[in-house]
Subunit: 264 residues, 4 copies
Amino acid sequence: MSDETWLRTSIATSTADSITVRDRDLAGELMGRVSFTELTFLLVAGRRATAEETRLLDAVLVSLADHGLTPTVLAARLTYTGAPESLQGAVAAGLLGAGTVFLGVVEDTATFLAAILEDTDATDEAALRRAAEAAVSARTKEGRRVPGLGHPIHKTEDPRTPRMYAIADETGLLGPHLRLLRLVAKAHAAATGKTLPINGAGVAGAALADLGFPPALMRGFALVARTAGIVGHLAEEMAQPLGMPLYQEVDRRAVYEPGEDSKS
Amino acid sequence: MSDETWLRTSIATSTADSITVRDRDLAGELMGRVSFTELTFLLVAGRRATAEETRLLDAVLVSLADHGLTPTVLAARLTYTGAPESLQGAVAAGLLGAGTVFLGVVEDTATFLAAILEDTDATDEAALRRAAEAAVSARTKEGRRVPGLGHPIHKTEDPRTPRMYAIADETGLLGPHLRLLRLVAKAHAAATGKTLPINGAGVAGAALADLGFPPALMRGFALVARTAGIVGHLAEEMAQPLGMPLYQEVDRRAVYEPGEDSKS
Amino acid sequence: MSDETWLRTSIATSTADSITVRDRDLAGELMGRVSFTELTFLLVAGRRATAEETRLLDAVLVSLADHGLTPTVLAARLTYTGAPESLQGAVAAGLLGAGTVFLGVVEDTATFLAAILEDTDATDEAALRRAAEAAVSARTKEGRRVPGLGHPIHKTEDPRTPRMYAIADETGLLGPHLRLLRLVAKAHAAATGKTLPINGAGVAGAALADLGFPPALMRGFALVARTAGIVGHLAEEMAQPLGMPLYQEVDRRAVYEPGEDSKS
Amino acid sequence: MSDETWLRTSIATSTADSITVRDRDLAGELMGRVSFTELTFLLVAGRRATAEETRLLDAVLVSLADHGLTPTVLAARLTYTGAPESLQGAVAAGLLGAGTVFLGVVEDTATFLAAILEDTDATDEAALRRAAEAAVSARTKEGRRVPGLGHPIHKTEDPRTPRMYAIADETGLLGPHLRLLRLVAKAHAAATGKTLPINGAGVAGAALADLGFPPALMRGFALVARTAGIVGHLAEEMAQPLGMPLYQEVDRRAVYEPGEDSKS
C-alpha cells in the first residue's frame, strides 16, 4: 500500500487504552453522556446534534421503526424459521426488503423538494407557493405521482404527519423542506380536486432534509429504525412462532398450476 | 386460515387514523415523547424502560455501535462498491458478519453468568465469590476460555468496562450479572496468575442480562447499534471510497498459487 | 503488506489476455468444455470431477433446487415486493433461511455417518451393520433423533432416495456413507419398530460425503441449488406477484393482542 | 383467503409420494436425466432447453462464475471471518455486491441491444449495421458509454468473447443480439477511432437475450454462477484464511483523520 491516502477514516479508531468515535473519547465523552440517537447523528453527520435536532431525529426514528406485520417483517420471521441460529441473518433478510417500494418515498420526497428549493427563495412564502404549484403541475402532467402524498390505509390523514410538524415547530426546525411539503400537498389538492394526506414516509424525508441529510443517506436512518422493529418481531417470533404456521397455511392452500409448455 | 390463533402479534397495528406500537399510540404517546432507545426497549421487552434502564441501554448501544474499519465494516463498504443502488444491501452485508466470533462474546458471557446465578444466592457476596471461583476453575480445567475476559487490543483495560460499571452504579442497576462478572475476572486472575480485563462485549452482555434480556436476544441490540455504525461508514464511503482501492490493492498484490492437482 | 503469504488464492486470476480458474484457461479449457456442475465441482474441490462424479453431483443439485413455496422462497418473494430494484437482495434473503432447520440435515447426516465410519472397516458389511446398530442405539437412548430419517410429507418414502441410490449404483459411487445410511435406517426400524424413510436431505449429505466433500461445505452445494430455485420463483413473481397479496391477506386477518404490561 | 387466485405457482409442488418441478416428476424425470444447468433453464424459462441451448447457457454460467478476489468475494470472506457458523450469511453477503456496477453491464447491454432490435429487421445485415451505427452515434453524443464494450484489464480482447461467439456459432445460436453486439463494437470503433473489446459481461447479456431471457432476469443467472464461485472461495477461506489477516493489515495501516467539526 504505497500510496495510502485512500486508507483513512474519520469514523473511529482505537489504541491500547482508548476508543475514539468521531473525535470523541467513547468511554469518557460518549457513553453515559449521549443517547444512541445522538451517537447515530454524530456517526452519520460527523458533528454533534443540538437538543432540538436530537428530538426531531428521535421522532423520525420512532415514526419509522415498526408498522406491524409488513412484508419485510414477514421475510425476517420466515428466515428465522429456517435459520434460528443466525439472528443477524433474519435481521438482514428483513432489511433487504427496505427498498424503493416502501422506503423509496422517503428519499423521493426529499429529492423532489430539494429540486424545487434549488431555484426558489425559501424565505419568500409566496414564491415557495408558486414553485410548489408549478412542480405539482409539471409532475401531474407527466402522469407521475407526487411523492410523499397518499397512503393505502391512512386515506384522510396519516397520524404521524401533524405530530411531526408539531415537533418540528416546537423545536424551531420547521425548515424549508417541511414547509414546502405542506404547500405541495395544498397545491396538489387544488390542482386535482383530490385531497391526499402527507404520508409518514414523506414527512420523514422532509424532516431529514431539514436536518441536513442528503437523500442518498436517508434510507440509512430508516434501516436503523427498522432494525429495532425487526428485533422486536424476532423476540416475539421466538416466543410465539408465526413463520412456520404461515408457511404451512400457504403450503396447504397453494394451487399448483401446470405450465403452458407441453412436455418435451 | 381456519384456526388463526397463530396469526397474532403484540408489536404493532394500525387503523385508518391511528398506529399502535406495543399498546401505545405512535403519534400521541411515542413520537416526541420517547427516545429511539426507549422505543427499542419497548419493542423488544414489551414494557416501558425506566429512566435508569434507558440510560444503561443507551450506554450499551453507544459502546457497541462502531470500532472503526472492522471486517464487517469492510464487507459493507466492499458491497457498496458493487451495488451502490442498494444501501440496504450494503448494510445487510455488514450485519451478516455480526456472528459468533465477534458478537458471540456478548451472549456467551451472559449465558455463562446466568448458569452460575441459577444455583447461587446473588445477595450473598461470599457465596457469589465461591461460585465464581468454582465456575472459573471448572472452565479452565476443561481448557476453555472464560467468556468476557481479554481483548486483543485493550490488553490491560478495556476503557468501556469501568465506564459501564460506573453508569450501572449511578443508575442503581449494578445487578447480579455485572457484580458476578467482576468476581469472575478476579477469580480468573487468582487462579491463573494472569490478569485479563473484562472486555466491552462481556460487560455489555452482563448489563443486558441485568436489564432483563435473555441471551438469545442480545445480538439484536448489537445489530441495532451496528446498523448506525455501518450507515456512518457508508456515508463516508460515498464521499471518500475505500472499497474500490482496497480491492485494487488486493488484486495487485495477491499471488495466484497453482493447485496441487495435476490437470486431468 | 510486508509478509504476504496470506494474500494468495488458488481459485482464479487474470492477466490482460487470459483468465485462469483452478489452473485451467477459462476460455480455452472450460467454456464450452465443462458443464456448470463440473465447474462447481472444480471450484470447490480443486480438481476435475469424473463423468460419474458429475452425474451424481448433478443429481444432488437437481434434488435440492426447489420444493415449491417454502419459507425461504416466501422470504425471497416478500423481499422482492419491497425492493424489486435489487434482485440480488431478494435472492440473498431467500438464501439466508437456508440454515440449520431445513439444510442442517444434510451436514448432520454426513457428520453422523462420518463419526461411525471413523472406527469401522467400511468394507466389512457385518461390521458396518453392527456399528450402525450401536450408533442408532446410542442416539435413541439419548433421546435424540437419528439425522437423515423421516420427512413431514413423505412419510413412507421420499421419492428422491431410491433414485439417488440407483444413480449412485449406476455410477459406481455407492460409497461407505450411502451404504451405511441404509443400514442406519434398517437399524432404526429394528430398534424402534417404526420404519422411517431416508429423506432427501440425508441422502444428499451421504452422497456429498461419498463424493469427498466435508460436512462444513455441503451447505454450499445446497446454496448453489437453491439460488436456481429462488431465481425461478422470482421470475414467476415478476409475472404473477404473490408477495403483495400474501402480505395483504396477513394484514387483513392478523389479530393484534394487547400486551400483558399495564401502561406506565 | 377467500379468493385464492393469487396463491398459485407453476414452479413446484409435492405430495406424499412425489415431487413435481415444472410439470416433471423430480425423481423419475429430472434426477439423473438432466444436468443442473438444464434444471436451471427449466426453472426460470418454464420449458426444457435444447442440447444447444444448454451448451450455450453452460458457457455463460462458466464464464461468470469467478474472477478471483473481487470486491464481492472479499465481502463474503470477511463475513465468514465474523460468522463462520453461517455459510449462508457469507454467501448472501457476497451476492449482495452483485449490483449495477459489475453485473449491471449484462442487463444494460441486453437492454441496449433489444431497443435497437425493436425497430430493425434483424435478418437484414445492412439494416442492422445502420441501426448499430445510429445507436452508437446517439449514445456517444449524449456522452454516455456504450454498454458491453471495454474492460479495465482485458484492454485489447476479453478472452471470453471470441470463445462465446464460437460456441454460439457451433450451436446455431448466434442470434440477433450477439450479431448486433459485434456490429455495435465495429460502429463504435469507426465512430470514435478507439477499438474497445466486447467484454465478458456484455457478451453474456447478448447470449442470454438470444436464449430468450428478459434483461430483468439475467442477473439471476449471474447470481447462480457467482454462488458457485463464492462457495469455492469459502472452501479456500476455511483452509487458508484471508479475511482476518486482511482486516489486520487494514487496521494496522489505516489512518484516522480527525473531522473538520470542532468539538461541541
